[in-house]
């Protein structure tokens, strides 16, 4: 995936234009796990929406495998901040949603596999309302994985969860990523989250969101929370975000 000069300004009549992305350049390799980190309102979601094909950049190009992005595509699946799973469908139907016209036996097998993978066996016939936040999140992830996408975009997928569930979900996300090897772009506010998960962390400035630095994490999984390297990277990220001395 290659971004060149991606620029976006929101213009609304009667209001001053809001420049959100000043021109972003970034390359992402296949199978990488990238975290996008930056202050609230800096344009992370906007960038992800452009990559996902839900919004268009005013200028610049986004190409994936050499093809410009023209709109949403089942090969690149978005896991939304609000999950976006369908409350009128059971867990099973939600996960099968992207499988379209496949034979039923085939669906049964695929959905079964991913229900197992995200630990939701026994909840096939449950409706999302009866699930906890963490379980809904897992449904959203399973639905995305079930179509075997090349790329998964996640917009603060763990943002709404309590800190314990969040830790567990991170571990699961890593396990799934290691098993299935999709490219993952994950937006987060959380410095720890990015150090625990990412191959590289892209740090944005406040709006308009420039890329301040792309930090290589380069620690093997599983990562030791308190280790020296871990702490160094964490401090570096805090420093970039301008909060090092505030803590």
């Amino acid at each position: 995936m290659r971004l060149r000069g991606v620029q976006k300004t929101f213009r609304e009549p009667g209001k001053p234009p809001v420049e959100v992305l000043p021109g972003i350049d970034l390359d992402v390799a296949k199978g990488e796990l990238i975290c996008l980190l930056g202050p609230s309102g800096c344009g992370k979601s906007t960038l992800l929406n452009i990559l996902g094909g839900f919004e268009t950049a005013d200028e610049g190009t986004v190409t994936i495998d050499g093809q410009p992005v023209r709109g949403p595509d089942p090969r690149r699946v978005f896991v939304f901040q609000e999950y976006g799973i369908f409350p009128w469908m059971t867990v099973w139907d939600n996960i099968a949603f992207g499988l379209g016209e496949k034979r039923f036996e085939e669906k049964l097998e695929i959905v079964g596999h991913y229900i197992e993978l995200v630990g939701l066996r026994g909840f096939e016939k449950t409706f999302p309302q009866q699930l906890s936040g963490g379980m809904r999140q897992r449904v959203a992830v399973a639905r995305a994985l079930a179509v075997k996408p090349d790329i998964i975009f996640m917009d603060e997928p763990l943002g709404a969860l309590d800190s314990l569930t969040r830790l567990k979900m991170r571990a699961e996300l890593l396990r799934i990523w290691q098993e299935e090897k999709p490219t993952i772009l994950l937006v987060t506010h959380d410095v720890d989250e990015s150090v625990q998960l990412a191959d590289r962390v892209v740090v944005f400035s406040a709006r308009p969101g420039r890329i301040l630095e792309v930090v290589e994490v380069g620690i093997d999984h599983p990562r030791e929370f308190g280790s020296r390297e871990y702490t160094e990277i964490k401090n570096r990220l805090y420093e970039l975000l301008g909060v090092k001395h505030a803590l």
């Binding site: 089942p74 699946v77 939304f80 609000e82 999950y83 369908f86 009128w88 949603f97 992207g98 309302q129």
Partner: protein, 263 residues
């Protein structure tokens, strides 16, 4: 008391208190109102209405209940048949919204009662007149609420569906329709209530049969207030019954998720 018991006991207590107050008040001269019937008189009024006259197969009241119900359901179902698809279209296609919304918003506040003279001019038969009025009364709220339901579907559902390659009719069928359904069902239920209110009003003016007509007729039969109050109570109970039936729709899995209720 457990809440189950309370659910049955509390309304009965309220009802008994009300009956007692009514009874005392009516016996004391009805606060100046001439001849307000006591609960007992209303009951014996029912004896008249539920009597089967010679040569007929059912009590008099049945004919009136049936024609009121027939008109209500016909007008209401027609309103659903046309109103729901139109509302969906207006909600989904921005152009349709621009084109039709102002007109609908203008027609909507016109009370169905105001249409009575028109209905008398256009239609010859009693039934068609009332059905038309009920249609008018139920149609606009259904269209407006259905359109609002579609327009308020969270964007994330639409985007998620598009992400998996859905568009056009399949997007509509698999996401738009089910996402709007709970609000549509609620709109339908509310419109059913409106229809039942309007049928009585319509029958008081435009026709010669039905529960509304029965009330007017009782007035001309030497002010039979016992029949008037009795019919009112009957109207209320049938309305309650209709609402209870439609409430069942809200307990379906496809609908339940979107209905927030505190009990």
């Amino acid at each position: 008391m457990s809440s189950r018991v309370q659910r049955f006991a509390l309304p009965i207590v309220v009802l008994l208190v009300l009956l007692a107050v009514w009874s005392v008040w009516a016996k004391g001269g009805g606060g100046g109102a001439t001849d307000f019937p006591t609960p007992g008189e209303v009951l014996s009024g029912y004896a008249d209405q539920f009597r089967t006259p010679e040569g007929e197969r059912a009590p008099i009241i049945v004919k009136h209940v049936v024609s009121s119900l027939f008109r209500t359901l016909s007008g209401f179902l027609l309103a659903c048949m046309f109103g729901v698809p139109l509302g969906l279209a207006i909600g989904w296609y921005t152009r349709a919204f621009y084109a039709l919304n102002p007109l609908i918003q203008m027609l909507r506040p016109i009370s169905a009662i105001a249409w009575i003279p028109i209905s008398i001019m256009i239609f010859r038969r009693d039934d068609t007149r009332s059905i038309f009025l009920i249609f008018v009364a139920a149609f606009f709220p259904i269209v407006v609420s259905t359109a609002a339901a579609v327009r308020s579907i969270p964007q994330v559902y639409i985007r998620a569906a598009q992400n998996f390659g859905l568009s056009g009719w399949r997007l509509f069928k698999k996401v738009v329709l089910p996402a709007a359904l709970p609000q549509v069902v609620t709109a339908i239920r509310v419109s059913m209530g409106i229809s039942w209110i309007v049928v009585v009003a319509a029958e008081m003016v435009a026709v010669q049969e039905g529960l509304g007509w029965l009330i007017i007729d009782a007035r001309y039969q030497g002010a039979r207030t016992d029949l008037i109050v009795g019919t009112m109570i009957l109207i209320g109970m049938i309305g309650l019954g209709l609402d209870t039936v439609l409430r069942k729709l809200e307990t379906l899995d496809q609908v339940k998720w979107g209905i927030t209720r505190r009990d």
